[in-house]
């Protein structure tokens, strides 16, 4: 638990670790063929660029698309197809459309193998906070809380620390929760970390850093896998 105390002090840092594209690629490679996956708005959507071409993964968008393809181009333009981030996207061959009630029934009924989300904070008990940093101004929640409890697995893709060096992987979240106890794995710029009954467990880390330096940048104990 001394790690926590150390880590809550901002750490002067010139270790950048993996880029967002590296993180997305690493995560994409961990998705097996045939999984049904929802990618949150923003960085998570990058994951779709890195799913190996010979691997069929079916992307869901919470506004009712199953089988979402890449962003539209001028050549494929169809303004009637948008994803949850309200971008114009394509449909893959085999795609299907449902309305919002059926789409969220799919999400909340435990049918997605994986949902990848960004996050402000994650705790060693699997709590995470990704919908608002504060309740002072009016927050917007969208489908985050539904995805958080509905998918079989929640994986987060996020920076390991804030810009001023404070850890985002914590003993307990400080921001309003999206859902308690649901995160299974976190992909950061410094490491890939599972969340198990023991708390954070290291899967892999960037060679730019030592385990001790990683621990120092993390707000709760990191266990090594047995």
């Amino acid at each position: 638990m001394t790690a926590t105390a150390t880590a809550s002090t901002p750490t002067a840092d010139n270790i950048k670790g993996w880029s967002r594209r590296d993180m997305a690629k690493r995560l994409a490679e961990d998705i097996p063929e045939g999984w049904y996956v929802n990618l949150g708005i923003g960085i998570p959507l990058l994951v779709s660029d890195f799913v190996p071409a010979d691997r069929e993964v079916v992307l869901q968008s919470e506004n009712g698309i199953l089988g979402m393809g890449p962003l539209q181009t001028k050549r494929t333009f169809d303004p009637w197809i948008v994803n949850a981030g309200k971008q114009n996207v394509t449909l893959k061959t085999g795609a299907s459309i449902v309305g919002h009630a059926d789409s969220f029934a799919m999400i909340r009924g435990g049918h997605l193998d994986l949902c990848v989300l960004g996050s402000f904070e994650v705790a060693a008990n699997g709590d995470f906070a990704n919908w608002t940093t504060s309740l002072k101004s009016v927050p917007a929640v969208g489908g985050a809380m539904d995805l958080a409890v509905g998918a079989k697995r929640i994986w987060l893709i996020m920076d390991h620390t804030s810009k001023d060096g404070r850890p985002k992987l914590l003993e307990a979240c400080t921001m309003p929760l999206t859902a308690p106890g649901v995160v299974k794995r976190v992909y950061t710029n410094l490491a890939v970390i599972d969340i198990t009954a023991r708390g954070f467990e290291l899967v892999s880390m960037t060679p730019e850093i030592t385990f001790e330096a990683l621990q120092a940048r993390t707000g709760a104990k990191i266990h090594r896998k047995d």
């Binding site: 948008v82 971008q87 917007a140 929640v141 409890v149 859902a179």
Partner: protein, 234 residues
């Protein structure tokens, strides 16, 4: 005589909507927005409205934003009130002139579906243990905790679709289905603007997204395509 739900004017489409009504408004992003019906509702003049929609509008000139800007809305129930362009919402809400009920998007969809299906309330894991779930009844089933959510049943639903016939059978075009489909089922008066009118029987029995029983009025509004979401790559 025959059933004919097609009306010829916006005034007929909006007839009878009362002050104080709860109004469901379909659409997600720029797609499937019943903007012409919203403008007609603004014209019609009903006020003190509660509106239920995924977003709280953007800009000031049209749709939900205009209805709110005209001071017709007392309360909004939505999942994503704040977005680029939600200026009217923020002004009114900050000034204490517009109540907000923030609902998770899936819970919103399910509450509306429940309203149409005669389910007064259901349990869901969504928002348990969060700010949104605070104060709601918690109950455990098979070792997992859930909160109780009540149905949303409205006076009016405004819906946009691709094809409609005189019985009110509807088909939506791809992402235009969104909230339009559940909302069509959950109001006493469901009003539809349709890009195309088709003959009864043109829509095959296995291919109808919203059976006509849910629809009260249809008006033909062939407005064309929604705007592109953002500039596209070549």
């Amino acid at each position: 005589m025959a059933i004919n739900k097609i009306v010829q004017s916006f005034a007929d489409a909006m007839a009878g909507i009362k002050d104080g009504s709860t109004v469901l408004i379909g659409g997600f992003g720029a797609v499937g927005q019943p903007n012409h019906l919203l403008d007609a509702l603004t014209e019609q003049g009903a006020k003190d409205l509660t509106i239920v929609a995924n977003n709280a509008g953007s800009g000031r000139e049209t749709g939900i934003a205009r209805l709110m800007d005209m001071g017709r809305v007392r309360r909004i129930v939505c999942s994503f009130p704040r977005s680029a362009g939600s200026v009217v919402f923020e002004e009114l809400h900050n000034a204490g002139k517009l109540e907000l009920e923030l609902v998770a998007q899936g819970t919103l969809a399910e509450r509306i579906r429940a309203g149409g299906a005669g389910i007064p309330a259901f349990y869901t894991a969504t928002a348990y243990g969060t700010y949104i779930g605070e104060g709601k009844e918690v109950r455990e089933f098979k070792g997992r905790k859930y909160i109780l959510e009540e149905a949303i049943k409205a006076d009016v639903a405004l819906v946009e679709c691709w094809q409609a016939d005189r019985w009110g059978n509807l088909r939506y075009r791809t992402s235009g289905r969104n909230f339009n489909q559940p909302m069509a089922t959950a109001a006493d008066l469901t009003i539809v603007q349709s890009q195309h009118l088709v003959e009864l029987g043109d829509l095959g029995p296995d291919d109808i997204h919203t059976p006509g029983i849910y629809v009260d009025r249809v008006i033909h509004v062939p407005y064309g395509d929604p705007p592109a979401a953002a500039p596209l790559a070549d």
